[in-house]
């Protein structure tokens, strides 16, 4: 009887462990890097990109984020694209922007869903092909993936 009880407890513990693992199954930092690399070839350098977001997001369902890129927006020099990824969501991609010089200013705002505490990464691609990036860790109290 005791043995049976302990077995049950063990399997119950295993089930809980599996549930926790499944819950945390998200994109890994490696997958996120791979996603970003698939969008923009090359190695981004730190700088020129500013990523603004709350340090602690109480509700992961809608986290306001502002990304701006320091650059002029003229025919000869402009921000071509902006990629945002998250490294702890089920899928790494968050949003992609493709600008033309008509945008006047590469500054965007959106609201994202974050499943757990994780890092947001923004990579900007200039028209000359150079890449710039910024990242920021956001602590999430309640995840927003509807599990």
């Amino acid at each position: 009887m005791t043995r049976l009880a302990s077995l049950t407890r063990r399997s119950a513990l295993a089930a809980i462990a599996a549930a926790i693992a499944a819950r945390n199954a998200g994109a890994t930092p490696d997958e996120t890097r791979a996603w970003l690399a698939a969008q923009a070839k090359g190695t981004p350098r730190e700088g020129r990109v500013t990523l603004k977001a709350p340090e602690i997001a109480e509700n992961g369902n809608a986290v306001p984020v502002t990304v701006s890129v320091e650059s002029e927006m003229s025919e000869t020099s402009y921000v071509k694209a902006l990629y945002v990824a998250a490294d702890g969501n089920p899928n790494p991609g968050v949003i992609t922007y493709e600008f033309t010089p008509l945008a006047g200013k590469a500054e965007v705002q959106f609201r994202t869903r974050l499943a757990q505490t994780q890092k947001l990464i923004a990579v900007a691609q200039m028209n000359d092909g150079s890449l710039w990036m910024a990242s920021r860790e956001i602590k999430v109290t309640i995840g927003g993936c509807g599990g």
Binding site: N91, T96, Y97, A103
Partner: protein, 109 residues
């Protein structure tokens, strides 16, 4: 369900030549991320607004690709430089290829 989807757009009605104006837009859409389960434990299929195209006087300004990581009722803001009076047109498209358009006129003085 798709009947109550309505794009909203807010831009200044007037601007000076060359001014960079802020555009704010929101579309009421559930943005089902394809991971959520309903009461019966069945996965709710993915249905999100996946693209927004912005044009001013039919000239492209911005193309946005949205992923399931964007919150329900997506709100976006961005900028556009206006050199002459014209119409700003936003077109949203979702996974079922339905699309919604919002337009706003900007007078340049």
């Amino acid at each position: 369900m798709s009947d109550d989807i309505k794009p909203r757009l807010r831009v200044p009605a007037t601007a000076t030549k060359g001014e960079v104006v802020e555009v704010k837009t929101l579309v009421t859409h559930p943005m089902e991320n394809g991971l959520r389960k309903d009461a019966d434990g069945k996965v709710v299929p993915r249905l999100i607004v996946n693209a927004l195209k912005v044009a001013y006087n039919d000239k492209p300004v911005l193309d946005v690709k949205l992923e399931p990581a964007i919150a329900a009722n997506p709100f976006l803001s961005f900028f556009v430089r206006v050199e002459e009076s014209g119409t700003l047109r936003l077109t949203w498209t979702d996974d079922r290829s339905q699309s919604w358009t919002a337009e706003s006129r900007i007078e340049v003085s």
